[in-house]
């Protein structure tokens, strides 16, 4: 079975400071990992994904994420936060192998990012 955990319900950061939103996962095979962002009263928008290759993935709006297989983590990062980054962030995982392989991604509960001016 596949699962994903976002241990923080809310992350607060000052504008201009670096931000990290944490995500850990559990799969039986190899993971495909994703980050999505949801602005108020909107649907989710794709930010970035890890499929294979370089462990550091760059995405939209200056965000990046680092895949760490030994720690089963895929934390979202940005060097300098903007007030406009304030939103709900979702991590998602798909297990690509083993007996628990699935074509359907599982989403975390979401982390609310608040960037203070």
């Amino acid at each position: 079975a596949q699962s994903v955990a976002q241990p923080e319900d809310q992350v607060n950061v000052a504008e201009g400071n670096p931000l990290t939103v944490k995500c850990t996962y559990s799969v039986s095979g190899n993971p495909y990992l994703f980050w999505y962002v949801q602005y108020p009263n909107r649907g989710l928008q794709f930010l970035l994904k890890y499929i294979t290759g370089d462990n550091l993935v760059k995405g939209s709006y200056g965000f990046e994420a680092e895949f760490n297989k030994s720690q089963t983590s895929f934390h979202l990062k940005k060097p300098s936060a903007l007030v406009s980054d304030s939103a709900l962030y979702f991590c998602a995982v798909r297990d690509t192998g083993g007996t628990g392989g699935s074509y359907i991604p599982t989403f975390g509960r979401g982390t609310s990012l608040i960037v203070h001016p």
Binding site: Y32, R42, G108
Partner: protein, 116 residues
């Protein structure tokens, strides 16, 4: 470039009433999904479809039915609405497996349903 369109955007129902949410996508995606979003629960998969004429149950299918008669449309039905079905519903679509765009979901703007 419409993407994924959900109708209606808002609806208020009384307990026991029925309704259908419509999802339409214009990207020729194979896969389509219905999720519900509740505070503190994140996104939970209700039903999904991997192609025209096929549907499958997700994590929380009880009380819902779906149909995919045309590739571009995915309908979510509530036969007898209950207050526990008050939620925001999101439709999404994606390419099928084997495509370079596989696995990335495109979401609609959501449908807010209140059951009194």
């Amino acid at each position: 470039n419409a993407g994924v369109t959900q109708t209606p955007k808002f609806r208020v129902l009384k307990t026991g009433q029925s309704m259908t949410l419509l999802c339409a996508q214009d990207m020729n995606h194979e896969y389509m999904y219905w999720y519900r979003q509740d505070p503190g629960m994140g996104l939970r998969l209700i039903h999904y479809s991997v192609g025209e004429g096929t549907t499958a149950k997700g994590e929380v299918p009880d009380g819902y039915n779906v149909s995919r008669l045309k590739k571009q449309n995915f309908l979510l039905g509530l036969e007898s609405a209950a207050p526990s079905q008050t939620s925001v519903y999101f439709c999404a679509s994606s390419h099928g497996q084997g495509s370079s765009g596989a696995n990335v979901l495109t979401f609609g703007a959501g449908s807010r349903l209140t059951v009194l």
